[in-house]
Symmetry: D2
Subunit: 436 residues, 4 copies
């Protein structure tokens, strides 16, 4: 991923160095357990343990240039490092393992770490949503369907809906973390031909992983596709929220604006512009994360006990997608932190429909008064059209319609135009959305 | 979906008639609860209930041609049906509801029904896999990585891996069923402006649904995207299994064949051909199901309290994908039922590598005897290459190499070429794969 | 595809009956050329030719239920039809051909027909765009970037951009038509083992097709993927246009509305609503067409001389995508035909930015007068901010700034706020967009 | 893109430095033309021209950290560079342009350069295919459909099919180069409000670009989606070829192997393995390139005169996809260069079907002799089944069937099993595939 969309902490998880250190940890843990059986001297184990932390990546890459095989290269580097100090380890290192045992188990660890970071990002995003929802529990605005004014709601209710989706995403990432927390130390084609299930279980337990019940040479890729979908739905949730802010920031709407920092230039040509570029950027990045998924799902049907076509996809997409999502969560959290909300403008826009947003209320009150549905509908629509064309407030128009007022007394009619009636459900919806 | 890939039971769930009947059921249940509050006479409720089962689709379609609105059309048909018999219902039918309340709740019911059918299909598929796995627990064959002979495994172990994936898919579809089992009766923009949460909960409970915590005008589409992913991974699992059968049925491999019915023509030109066309078909259908997903995920970020762009996608893709997956599960189950397995051919192919598949065993035994890893590796590779070029069995070649036999006595060396050593782990792997 | 999104003419191209008739035509033409060589009596050819037009689909389907092979079933039906009347034809029908020769060539014919219909649809859509562009050549509105007011343009210029894209789509569909116009009569694995290139060329020429230079058993699927991309970009173009209309129809913007027919219901709950549901529907359908593409591209890498995994994808997606696009073009054309444009509202919205949309002009005039860019930029931004907060027209604010007027005399400053300066380029852009 | 899949030349096109240098070139050329009108002294132009080649990226990035705007940052760096030396340029630099004028025009230049490199890669790949096709014009092998033996062909014919597809890809990339070779210097919202079409045309001509007929603020993104599809079909073509090699390298088939370099390790566990890892890698990379496309097509429907959601997608995907495809072409070319082809093995596998691959010939000869198609088919199938079960050569089985030999004399029957009959069409197919 390009620097522009990368944060250091997530990038660190995917660095070559981190990967090789995890591989070393795994090989070391494996050998510690094997040592009991193969009588490897403890001094040798200590020598191997001492390698941890020494920079490995550059040396492995150098060796890999010749062998074309990453794990073989790592083993060569470790052998060189232990030269003369650990003859048993030199024999037993990677004993009975296949490369995928190490690579897939380490990938699981990286994906687990990545999900921890993503959970952190989601939680801080959810907290921002929650804060805003509470703040705007009774900030009235118009609800829009099809981009057209519908009925009133509060900005807090809108945000409660986001919060509920954020919570679902948190659940998804947490579930993905469980799905991916499977390692494999069952050797070539996964048959434990030279290894034991007990050894596998013991080593993996140290890393918080469970053994893959039945692997081929690799861990089955439906796990990775499942994991990935949590990333996709997370990115898409942010896209939904960012899209809403873009809409709210339209010049004609202007009910909210993403933060605009001092010194920032909106346009090289038009100095007055404040564009929702962060949110637009988030929508674009969501497209990317979503697009990657096709390749990840295509990785599932490998040939027989595996081919290696999935590897290139994963080397690129697993870092790219987690890095992007991490960046998105962080950026969106900042957007929320500095979000400018304009309640007067929300009220202003709500009033622009001249009361038409209360039409359903009128309709139902007329029905309550005994009108048939079609009749009531016709009465409301007739007056709504009048408001629409004359731009006279809906309430006034209705008050002038004898058929209406003969059914619905003026006082009751007026009370239909009061927002307070929605207040109780706003409270309830915030609670239902997990906002406290 | 075209008839060719459609089974009646799943198609029925998605028929217009079924949808309108479910809508009627929902409107009826809603009205029953509302009746308490609005004092609708029980006789009227009974009149409405009596409509259930009468054919609706044709009449609704006719009305829709004018109004361009499905729910309005349905209400018109119901009004006509109750003409003169139920004046209160005529007023209170659909009272305070928005179309999406009905449409989305009914869609949830259809998707739940579809998942029940898919679970049935998966279970019978899993049972077939399990049966075969037990039957072939010790049917030896070569494990292949990269399409190249690797180490031996049993066909049962391969199938245990399928079974484990099938179980994961069953879990996914079951979880998807829970995810989608949410209805909504909260009215326009989801604010309960004319409805109560209590009423919503009561009605939905009758249908086994939970209330969507915070809806917009519609149920949030991340649920549908989540549901869909279970379909995608299910289709992809079948693709992986079908792909394996295609590989096994290659002329040069020919270790298994999908069933070939009497009267079936393999090729209009080449009468001897038996082609794995069912499995190829399944791979193609999986592509379709996977492709649909992009559109479903794009449905998530609707505008504000909703736009209706998701509707056309769902009208097409929800039936198409569930119908295809249902067909796939059924077809694949039939393939397994009639699968022809050729154990002698498996053994023959295994033997074609002249014992090279045991090379790792030799390597590790040499290490156990005290050789360094690199030395042992070199010894094995040297002899493997000799076998490769001379086509002399690996065991014989090794026995002639003094460096080998001086380390690994002939008897021990010979025992490395015995398949029985793998037997225990085959048992264990079947157990781990949930095969009993 | 479901009826709702299907027009009869395109559906007809994809009917079973049409396919079998085309197959019959092809087999007949093939036999006519073969007759010269094989001395088949003319009377028999006439008997075969007489079958054309008789309903075939039902009978073929019935036979296929047994043989599981469509072409074999068709040949059986034809044999039955000619029973006793054409012994030579019974022998030579399909002589040396493989099923794919017939199926792929017929598919090419269907796709060619489909593209003709799509071209028709595009041309009528382009004509509607052109008409509107001419009508609104000088209908001023605000140009929006990031959803935020930028600089003025005319609605005609916006439409000229659509027209240019429509022309590109027409070129693409026309090119796709050429790409797909390749047939194949080279037999199993495409080697002319029993057929001659001359015969292939002669038969295909009758159908306006060229021979595939080197086929496998099938026509290479990169052609179909290429063809499909023209559908995808066509659907996406309509999506772009429909999206614009949705934006223009937002309550706060309301510069245009899609047609709203008498009797149509906007909402079952809110009688005043006019929602851009046709355009939203078009956006959803575009998602579908785009999604299908992944499966079509995956069809390209078939195994060896072909497998049949592409067939199921194509049976579904080729009809579905062309039917949807045909429907989209027709629907969008109707939207344009009845599009309601509100020029006063466009002017009103343009004026809402209080002249800030002319800021760049001021900036450049100040530079022309000798100011450095940064200085000029600072002057403009300072006053823009003042307008932004005070809501006083930008011109007035600038006229009060001595630094500005000392550089740019009031009269020149005022002339910057005149729209007529843009008129010439509007003319030019319509010309460039192919609008006459 | 990660280093592993990146070649320096293509990476260079996408470096920050290269981009800023192109931007500088464009701004300089623009100013040279503007100079005539605005009377900018030639000495200043020379001063600007002298900046070319000086490293810019680091300084621009530094400025961008504050302004958050790349083009503004570049202009600041250039201003600083010209400090005191070019007062007119300081005023007129970027005069009337909008950032997208520069960014989109430069992107077009980069994509054009990228396509030149890709064309070079494709041509060298096509040359390798051609060389192999000529070499193997008469190398017989079995043609396989559904992975099952069908009829014979030569490896040269197979390669001729690849060559034809390679030529189509070259045409596609060349066409994409034309499609993308459009620049834009029409200012904000593309209306030439401060610029002239003549100036645009003159500047763009210098860079080999045409003016976009009607732009919004940006060049319409259907061009980029069109361009991208050429990358997708190119990657997919390589996938098809690589997939074939993977199949041919299967242990049981082993008719070809990708090159295996000295020192390379096939497996850390199984020293004898030679895995088609390069070709598997190519298949994986093709998945990536294909997946990216969805995001690129989603970029087309931007809001109004543009939003900036496309930018993040393109910053990532345009480099990633061209870099990957460049890598793929280079890697695949190397695979072909060192491809090991085993003609004896091809012959051996061909012979394994015991002559059944000639069944269609027999069928047609029996028909020529006067048998009805069904009768002939039945005769062939009957004997084919006998060969299939008894493993006795098809010719011998047929010779023993009196019904066959009474129709088709033994000598004629024997001649059906001669491969030479296919030789002429092999020649012809190589010619048709553009192989000389």
């Amino acid at each position: 991923m390009i620097d522009r969309y990368m944060r250091a902490e997530m990038a660190g998880i995917w660095s070559d160095e981190r990967r090789f250190q995890l591989m070393l940890e795994l090989e070391t843990a494996f050998l510690e357990f094997l040592a009991r059986e193969k009588k490897i001297p403890q001094a040798e184990i200590r020598a191997l343990r001492a390698v941890a932390g020494k920079p490995l990546a550059a040396r492995v890459k150098e060796k890999e240039a010749t062998s074309g095989h990453e794990i073989v290269a790592l083993l060569q580097v470790l052998s060189a490092e232990l030269k003369g100090k650990a003859p048993s380890i030199d024999r037993y290192l990677h004993y009975g393992l296949t490369s995928s045992d190490v690579m897939d188990t380490v990938l699981a660890l990286q994906l687990k770490e990545a999900s921890d970071l993503l959970l952190k990002g989601w939680k801080s995003t959810a907290a921002q949503i929650s804060r805003l929802a509470v703040e705007h529990e009774t900030t009235w605005m118009v609800g829009r369907t099809h981009g057209v004014h519908a009925e009133p709601l509060t900005f807090g209710v809108k945000l409660a809906g986001w919060h509920a989706e954020a919570m679902r995403c948190i659940d998804r990432v947490a579930a993905a973390r469980e799905t991916i927390a499977f390692g494999k130390l069952s050797g070539a084609v996964g048959t434990f031909s030279q290894l034991s299930p007990a050894l596998e279980a013991a080593v993996l337990r140290k890393f918080g992983l469970k053994p893959e019940p039945v692997a081929t040479q690799v861990i089955p890729r439906d796990r990775h596709a499942d994991y990935f979908h949590a990333l996709v739905l997370s990115a898409t949730a942010i896209e939904r929220f960012a899209l809403e802010i873009r809409h709210l920031q339209r010049t004609e709407v202007l009910e909210a604006e993403e933060p605009f920092t001092e010194g920032q230039k909106g346009s090289s040509a038009m100095p007055h512009k404040r564009n929702p570029i962060l949110c637009e950027n988030l929508c674009g990045l969501a497209r990317l994360v979503r697009a990657y998924e096709a390749a990840v799902v295509e990785n599932v049907p490998l040939w027989h006990e595996r081919d290696i076509s999935h590897s290139s996809v994963e080397r690129v997409v697993m870092p790219d997608a987690t890095i992007l999502l991490d960046f998105m969560l962080h950026r969106f959290s900042r957007v929320l932190e500095g979000l400018q909300v304009y309640p007067e403008r929300m009220k202003h826009n709500l009033d622009r429909s001249l009361g038409l947003v209360f039409s359903q209320r009128i309709l139902l009150r007329l029905i309550d008064k005994g009108l048939g549905r079609l009749k009531a509908y016709e009465l409301v629509q007739r007056n709504a059209m009048k408001t629409w064309t004359s731009q006279e407030p809906f309430m006034n128009v209705l008050l002038k319609d004898p058929e209406v007022v003969s059914t619905l007394p003026a006082k009751e009619l007026r009370s239909c135009f009061d927002l307070n009636g929605y207040r109780k459900s706003a409270r309830e919806l915030l609670r239902r959305g997990g906002v406290n």
